[in-house]
Amino acid sequence: MSGEMTDQEVVELVKSGNRAMFSVIVRRHQKNLLRLSLRFVKDLDTAEDVVQETFIKAYERLTTFEARASFKSWLFQIAVNTAKNKLRARRDEVSDIDNVPLAVAPVAESSLVHSAVAKLIQAYIDMLPIKQKTALVLRIYEDLSFKEIAEIMECPYDTAKANYRHALMKLRDQLSEDNELREWSEEVSGFFTEMQQRVAEVES
């Protein structure tokens, strides 16, 4: 029966004192919240903490939920803010772009190349200002509309869109700069390989 109920209906039951119905909410949203949290905090233990805190906060503030946004957006809003607080607390430990390999050796397998590029993209995403990162994550990974993103980020529709656009354009610029660097690196690497071969030929 609870499967047919909307979030709003379940929330009303919890508000009226049926605490056990909150279980429906948890089951319905915990996977999405864990996935979203992992995108921000990266490790599973912290992401699990974010999910637990999110549900507890939501339960305690349930009476303040006024259904102006969807319940999912409201939960995501709490989760994003909780994840941001966790990130702020361990700001010094966020991934450092200098630790990510910029160039891939010419002999690397395509999967390795993809993995290195993926790491690089994730590192660049982590370096984005938190608002831009939030808009990008919600749009690309969570496939949310700009209306939902605006609700979660508690900002106007156009601001949500602008944050997403800036994030995307910044990534594009950084990756294109990096491509140039990689091409140059490959050229240099090729030059040294050729030189080594010639030296080996002369020596033999």
Partner: protein
């Protein structure tokens, strides 16, 4: 808006149908714009596939356990209740029925206070003007003393002010006498 932003809006489905049709037509003809669209599309795809979040290995048991942990905490918490309003209703005291003659008494008291105040103001004015008259009388009767007094007064002082406003009342000889004394 830059060309790239237009294509971004196009790809995000943020344009109205008419603009979208126009841009689709443009896209078929312009290689440069096709390249821009391809660039954004492949960037989005790269970002999407770069995601390290893989939850496929997480079993249902894991989520059951997480659910139970959350619900255990929920059961420890007090039930959500409506917040007490941050404002308080202040009840004003119920007005005591008044004596119907009280307004006449109040009005009479008000007029008495008003009359006394007016009288005081009048007296003050009178004393000021009589003081000025006394000075002038003294000046007319004994210009040399008055001139001496004026000699150590500055332009801001009361005596000089009174004198300058009333010089017309003095005779020429008195003024000349005063000026002569000052010089």
């Amino acid at each position: 808006m830059s060309r790239m932003n237009w294509w971004l809006e196009y790809l995000e489905g943020e344009l109205d149908s008419k603009t979208r049709l126009t841009m689709s037509a443009l896209l078929r003809k312009s290689k440069r714009d096709q390249a821009a669209v391809d660039e954004i599309s492949s960037l989005k795809e790269d970002i999407r596939t770069s995601s390290p979040v893989d939850m496929s290995s997480m079993s249902e048991d894991y989520f059951d356990a997480l659910h139970d942990k959350i619900m255990a905490q929920v059961h420890e918490r007090p039930a959500p209740s409506r917040k007490a309003p941050s404002w308080r209703v202040v009840y004003l005291p119920v007005p005591v029925p008044r004596n119907p003659w009280s307004w006449i008494k109040s009005s009479a008291a008000f007029f008495v206070v008003l009359a006394i105040s007016l009288q005081m103001i009048q007296n003050l004015k009178k004393s000021n003007s009589s003081f000025a008259e006394q000075i002038l009388t003294k000046a007319k009767s004994n210009p040399s003393d008055f001139a001496e007094m004026l000699s150590y007064q500055s332009g801001d002082d009361f005596f000089v002010d009174v004198a300058s406003r009333n010089l017309d009342d003095l005779t020429i000889s008195q003024v000349e006498d005063m000026v002569g004394k000052i010089q």
